[in-house]
Amino acid sequence: MKLLVPVKRVIDYNVKPRVKSDQTGVDLANVKMSMNPFCEIAVEEAVRMKEKGLAEEVVVVSIGPAQAQETIRTALAIGADRGILVQSDADPQPLEVAKLLKAVAEAEAPDMIIMGKQAIDGDNNAVGQMLAALLDWPQATFASKIEPMDKVVRVTREVDGGLQTLELDLPAVVTVDLRLNEPRYASLPNIMKAKKKVIDVKSVDDYGGLGAGHIAVPKVTEPARRVAGVKVENAAELVAKLKTEAGVL
C-alpha cells in the first residue's frame, strides 16, 4: 500500500498569535513555525503502518513557501520516504489546496491519503473532506483508529457522543484526530538520514495552477478581551457570589 500524507507549516502550537495592527492578518514574522500538530499525527500513523509492514511507501506533500521544506524534512525524520513541495507563497485557500492535492493524488496514485483533520491557523477543518469529494473517494474524518485490511480500511471516528466505526473501500481519505497516536521525537540518526531523502520541489503549475480564491478577507481583528474578575476566599463565598451577584445558580 502507498500512503500520501499532506502536511502544513503553521505557527507553532505554543506560540500566542498576534493580530497585526493594520488588521491585514496575523503577524508571522520572526515567529516559530512548526508542523501542524494534526499533520504530525498523520505522519506518525503512516510511518507506523509502514513499520508494521502494512504500507510500502509514505510520501509527504506540502503546499507552501520554500521554508515548508523544513516541515517536510521533519516528516522524513519521523520516517516518511520522500517529499514533494508544491511551492507557493500565495497562502492558497482550502478549496485551492484541495484542488492541488487532488492533482498530486492523481499523479502519485496512493491507496490512502492520511491527513490532519484541521490546521491550527485557519481552523477550517475542510481540506480532507473536499479532497475526498473532488477525487470521488470515500472519507472518514476524525479518526482515532485506522485498521487497513485487504482493499478496505476500517476507521473508528470520534463523533459527538462517542465513536463510530466505518469501513471504506480503498482508495480513501482519512483525517486524523488527536487520540490516534502520540507522535515520536525523531532521533538524531533519523534526522541525519532524513537529510539524504529526496524532496521534489514543484510549482503549482505542475499541478494545474492556482485558481483565484473565492474568499476575500477584508480584515482580521483581535477578539474582545475578557478581563480577570475577583478572587474569592472559599467555596461558601463563591456560591454566595454565583447566587446573588452573577445570578447563575
Binding site: I11, K16, P17, V19, V26, P94, L95, I120, D121, D123, N124, N125, A126, V127, Q129, M130, L131, A132, A133, P138, Q139, T141, S144, R157, E158, V159, D160, G161, G162, Q164, T165, E167, L168, D169, A172, D177, L178, R179, G213, H214, I215, A216, V217, K219, V220, T221, E222, P223, R226, A228, G229, V230, K231, A235, A236, L238, V239, L242, A246, L249
Partner: protein, 314 residues
C-alpha cells in the same frame, strides 16, 4: 434568496443547534427551509416544523443518512441546492464531516464556524484558536457555511411548517457503517448545556476525574467537560474535550477545575457568561479569564463547594 438549514439530530430528537443555526440563516434570508436527513426521522421533522420562521421542512431517509455518512449526506443535499443560495449547518462533528464535501462539489469555498453574519456575503469567524477574528467575504453564488451554534440565540418555537419528502440520493456506495459506540448519559449535552463543569490534568487519573467532576456536575445539573490535557492523558473521553480541537461552549456558567488554561482550552470556553476557576496555582492563566477564581487544591475545594451548594439549597 432562499437558505437551507441541515438539521442536527440523532434520528430521535432534534438538537438545539438546529434552532441556533436557523437564527443565523434568518440573518441571510427570510426564506429558510430545514432538511432533516436520517433514518426514522418523522418525529425529528415534526419538531423541526415547530421552529419559528421556517418555511418548510424537507425529510430524506435512508440507512446511510441515518448513519450520517458524508458521501450520502452530500449526495442528498447537492441536488436540493438548485433551489437555494446557501446551506447552513451547525459546526458539529456531523456537520463538519459533510459540509466541505458539499462545498467542493459546488466549487464553493466553505465558510467554517461563523460567529456573526454581517451581510449575505460577509461573515466573521474565529481563526488561530479564537486568538483572531477573520472577516470573510465570499464571492460564491452558492455558499456552504458551518455555524458555531453557541454564538447564536436559539430560534423560538410556535411555527407549523409543512413537511415534504425528498429523494435521499445515491447513498454511500464505498462506505459501510460497522458500529456505533455512543455513551448513554442523563446529563445535558456539552454543546448546549447551561452549566458546564470541566476537569483538567490535575485530576491525575480517570477514577479521580469520575469521583470529583461528575458528582459536582450532577449537583449543578451540568454537562461534563475536560481539557485536552485530561483527554490526552486518558482521564476523560474525547467528546468531553472543550477547546480549539474539541467543542466550543458558551454556557451561563463554566466551572474549570484543575485546568491551567492553555490557549487552546480558552478558545473553547472564553465566551461563557460566567467563568469560575479552581486551581492551586495562583498564576495559572485560567485566572486571567475567570470572573471568580478560587486559589485552592481541588481536593479540598470541591468537597467544600459541594457542601456550600447543599447549604444553599442545591
Amino acid at each position: 434568496m432562499a437558505v437551507l438549514v441541515v438539521a442536527d439530530h440523532d434520528n430521535h430528537s432534534l438538537k438545539d443547534n438546529t434552532h441556533k443555526t436557523v437564527t443565523a440563516a434568518r440573518a441571510l434570508s427570510s426564506d429558510v427551509d430545514i432538511l432533516v436527513a436520517g433514518a426514522g426521522v418523522a418525529e425529528v421533522a415534526a419538531q423541526a416544523a415547530k421552529i419559528d420562521g421556517v418555511r418548510k421542512v424537507l425529510t430524506a431517509q435512508s440507512d446511510a443518512l441515518g448513519a450520517g455518512i458524508a458521501e450520502a449526506m452530500a449526495a442528498c443535499v447537492l441536488p436540493l441546492m438548485s433551489a437555494y443560495d446557501a446551506v447552513l449547518v451547525a459546526a458539529t462533528s456531523a456537520g463538519k464531516n459533510f459540509a466541505p464535501r458539499v462545498a467542493a462539489k459546488l466549487d464553493a469555498a466553505p465558510i467554517s464556524e461563523i460567529i456573526q453574519v454581517i451581510d449575505a456575503d460577509t461573515f466573521v469567524r474565529p481563526i488561530y484558536a479564537g486568538n483572531a477574528l477573520e472577516t470573510v467575504k465570499s464571492t460564491d453564488a452558492k455558499k456552504v457555511i458551518t455555524v458555531r451554534a453557541s454564538a447564536f440565540k436559539a430560534a423560538g418555537e410556535g411555527g407549523a411548517a409543512p413537511i415534504e419528502m425528498v429523494d435521499p440520493g445515491a447513498g454511500a456506495p464505498h462506505t459501510r457503517f460497522i458500529s456505533d459506540e455512543i455513551a448513554k448519559s442523563d446529563r445535558p449535552e456539552l454543546a448546549g448545556a447551561k452549566i458546564v463543569v470541566s476537569g483538567g490534568r490535575a485530576m491525575g487519573s480517570a477514577e479521580e476525574f469520575h469521583r470529583v467532576i461528575e458528582p459536582l456536575a450532577d449537583k449543578l445539573g451540568a454537562a461534563v467537560g475536560a481539557s485536552r490535557a485530561a483527554v490526552d492523558a486518558g482521564y476523560a473521553p474525547n467528546d468531553y474535550q472543550v477547546g480549539q480541537t474539541g467543542k466550543v461552549v458558551a454556557p451561563q456558567l463554566y466551572v474549570a477545575i484543575g485546568i491551567s488554561g492553555a490557549i487552546q482550552h480558552l478558545a473553547g470556553m472564553k465566551d461563557s457568561k460566567v467563568i469560575v476557576a479552581i486551581n492551586k496555582d495562583a498564576d495559572a492563566p485560567i485566572f486571567q479569564v475567570a470572573d471568580y477564581g478560587l486559589v485552592a487544591d481541588y481536593k479540598t475545594a470541591v468537597p467544600e463547594l459541594m457542601a456550600a451548594l447543599t447549604a444553599a439549597g442545591k
